[in-house]
């Protein structure tokens, strides 16, 4: 049926929006691969593996930012523990990647190095079937989703909102971080997983594999953007925004707000898990530090800097903040925390609408 489909597409973005998306898609799927693989490394136009990995990583973060914007910008739920779902996704895929090291580890054993080091003889229960890619991917999205569902169900049912909810999500990720730091939990303790060799038979460090993962991340990002756009322009999105503004009223209109919140919350967690799985393949390491409360709070600032409630703002914010982080931690490492901290303060005080808001103001002022 082409009728409703084209109507849907028309609803998502106007002509200029689609043009911009196509241009970005072109850059991601054509230009970058060309400049990285086809152009020789000596040329000035060559895009190095470093940049590919960095941009790929930031795209994964952008997916998380989109997920955060959906629950915060459009539903008013500020989660300070979303990094947990991201990290769980990373660990899920990480288990597969660890299995794929096979006997090429330091100890030349079937079990991963950290298990040999701990004198274990067999994989713990959670590693079952993780040598299968599809199962690991399923874990990477289903475990965060399930955790989010259970947690969200109990939290939203008790009408916990606002600051209390945020604090509890922080406590959740903190508790999980403590758990994963323990060696007994079976996830590598404070070293986590690293030293990956292969994925689906391909060596993980070749330029070709990197490029595939890069373009895949880009595709998922664009797909998430379109999905988000669909959601927020639908009636569902309008109900969500109404819940953000006046939840009582929505309930009295006859909507079961618990279901709505639970849906977007779980979806958000699943997206984060997926992003985590993509992330770990490109960055090559996952450890419990990803679950730290600080990481999760940073996600919120990406969205705030870009402009919450705009979707595109989340992507911009993730890019700007992580780009700045990459720059500062290399050039002026002692100053990065100052910059980040000031960003938090100044954005909340003076730029409540974020970069997108500034842009809109500038456009309407012309």
């Amino acid at each position: 049926m082409t009728g409703p489909l084209t109507a849907t597409f028309a609803r998502l973005y106007g002509a200029s929006g689609w043009a911009a998306l196509s241009a970005i898609g072109f850059v991601l799927f054509v230009v970058f691969p060309a400049l990285n693989l086809a152009v020789s490394p000596d040329s000035a136009f060559h895009v190095s593996a470093y940049w590919i990995t960095l941009i790929g990583k930031i795209m994964c973060y952008a997916i998380v930012a989109l997920a955060m914007d959906l629950i915060w910008g459009y539903c008013g739920i500020l989660s300070l523990g979303h990094g947990l779902f991201f990290a769980l996704g990373g660990y899920g895929m990480g288990m597969y990647l660890m299995r794929q090291i096979g006997r090429d580890g330091q100890y030349r054993a079937e079990l991963p190095d950290f298990m040999v080091f701990l004198d274990w003889n067999a994989f713990p229960w959670q590693w079952w079937n993780t040598d299968q890619f599809w199962w690991a991917l399923l874990l990477a999205v289903a475990v965060p989703g399930l955790l989010a569902f259970v947690f969200g169900y109990f939290a939203f049912r008790s009408r916990i909102k606002g600051v209390y909810f945020s604090i509890i999500t922080q406590a959740l990720t903190f508790a999980a971080m403590l758990l994963f730091f323990r060696n007994e939990t079976g996830f590598g303790g404070n070293n986590g997983f690293t030293d990956f060799k292969r994925i689906l038979g391909y060596t993980i460090t070749t330029p070709e594999t990197r490029m595939v993962l890069f373009t895949l991340s880009g595709a998922v990002l664009l797909g998430t953007l379109l999905l988000g756009r669909y959601l927020v322009t639908s009636k569902f999105g309008r109900v969500l925004a109404a819940i953000r503004d006046a939840e009582q009223r929505v309930m009295f209109c006859g909507y079961n707000t618990l279901h709505y919140k639970l849906f977007i919350w779980t979806l958000s967690a699943v997206l984060c898990g997926f992003a985590g799985a993509l992330y770990v393949t490109q960055v090559g390491i996952i450890n419990p530090g990803e679950m730290s409360p600080a990481n999760s709070i940073e996600i919120a600032i990406w969205v705030a800097v870009g402009g919450r409630g705009t979707l595109i703002g989340a992507i911009i914010g993730a890019g700007v903040v992580n780009g700045a982080k990459s720059f500062f931690t290399q050039a002026f490492p002692e100053y990065w925390l100052y910059v980040l901290g000031l960003m938090f303060i100044l954005v909340t005080l003076f730029m409540p609408q974020g970069i997108v808001g500034l842009f809109n103001k500038w456009r309407s002022a012309k």
Binding site: K235, F236, A242, D245, A246, R249, M251, F252, C253, G254
Partner: protein, 282 residues
């Protein structure tokens, strides 16, 4: 009035037996479906609610007939809003019974279920969706299948658009349809909320100070609207504006310190010495 007519709902099971032509004696009553055919649409008996030792409602008893327009008056702190909280399920009473029709025990259901069963409430302070347009406010309130899965794929049909257009005309906001609701005047916001309430096609409307802050003209129109709604809908109106109450009320209930101290026609109540003492003044 088109808004009063039953609209065929999409997939939700019919909850309303009022317009069913089959005589009641041969119907099987299903718990959860409203049965207001016996004349009483709201029944409160000895409802008591206390907050931390303070008794907000003290053995309150009240009965509203189907199609009635009842006014509830009383001084501040008499328990009027708490009574509405109990009816809509926002507060659970410590004791007493509350029934909507013959079959729906209000103590058992959640706020959402009660709203879906056909009780609509307008709050004291106009509570609308400030960041949505007037049109969207009405669209969201409209009686429909309100489940998540339906909202994800919902499309406004022609009939639904017509209904919204009719409502916009009724509440005189046709020109502001695409305006962000937060920018409306106070009186306009009150009307929008009344419009949203009507979009839900409730059987019982609870209106908490609906004309507060309205101009005389707007108050006049509100009175007219309520009078036309009565009969097809049942209304409970809480108000302080005595002129307004006189205009619309047939029967008035006076609340004081959580219980009913007088009930009857307007002039009876106005001349009741107790009422004069606690509320109206000499």
């Amino acid at each position: 009035m088109a808004v009063g007519e039953m609209m065929t709902s999409t997939t939700a099971p019919p909850r309303d037996g009022v317009d069913d032509p089959i005589p009641s004696s041969s119907r099987l009553h299903t718990p959860g479906q409203l049965d207001a055919t016996h004349g009483v649409v709201l029944y409160l008996d000895n409802i008591s609610v206390s907050f931390d030792g303070f008794k907000a409602l003290n053995n309150l008893s009240l009965a509203i007939d189907t199609g009635e327009l009842r006014c509830v008056i009383g001084p501040n702190g008499a328990g009027k809003t708490t009574m509405m909280d109990v009816i809509t399920g926002k507060t659970r009473p410590d004791s007493g019974t509350a029934f909507f029709g013959q079959t729906i025990d209000l103590k058992q259901f959640s706020e959402v279920e009660i709203a879906q069963a056909g009780i609509g409430r307008k709050f004291q302070k106009p509570t609308i969706f400030e960041h949505h347009t007037v049109f969207e406010n009405l669209e969201l309130a409209m009686k429909a299948d309100k489940r998540v899965i339906k909202s994800l794929f919902a499309r406004l049909s022609g009939a639904e658009r017509d209904r919204i257009a009719e409502m916009l005309a009724l509440i005189r906001l046709t020109d502001s349809a695409q305006r962000v609701a937060g920018l409306l005047s106070h009186g306009q916001k009150q009307w929008l909320e009344i419009g949203m309430l009507l979009m839900q096609e409730p059987k019982l409307l609870l209106l908490d100070e609906p004309v507060a802050g309205m101009s005389d003209d707007e108050t006049e129109r509100t009175a007219e609207l309520f009078l036309t709604l009565a009969g097809k809908h049942s209304l409970v109106v809480v108000e302080h504006d005595m002129a307004f109450v006189e205009k619309i009320a047939r029967k008035v209930t006076v609340l004081h310190e959580g219980s009913v101290i007088a009930e009857g026609a307007m002039d009876e109540v106005q001349n009741d010495p107790r009422v004069i003492e606690v509320y109206l003044g000499r």
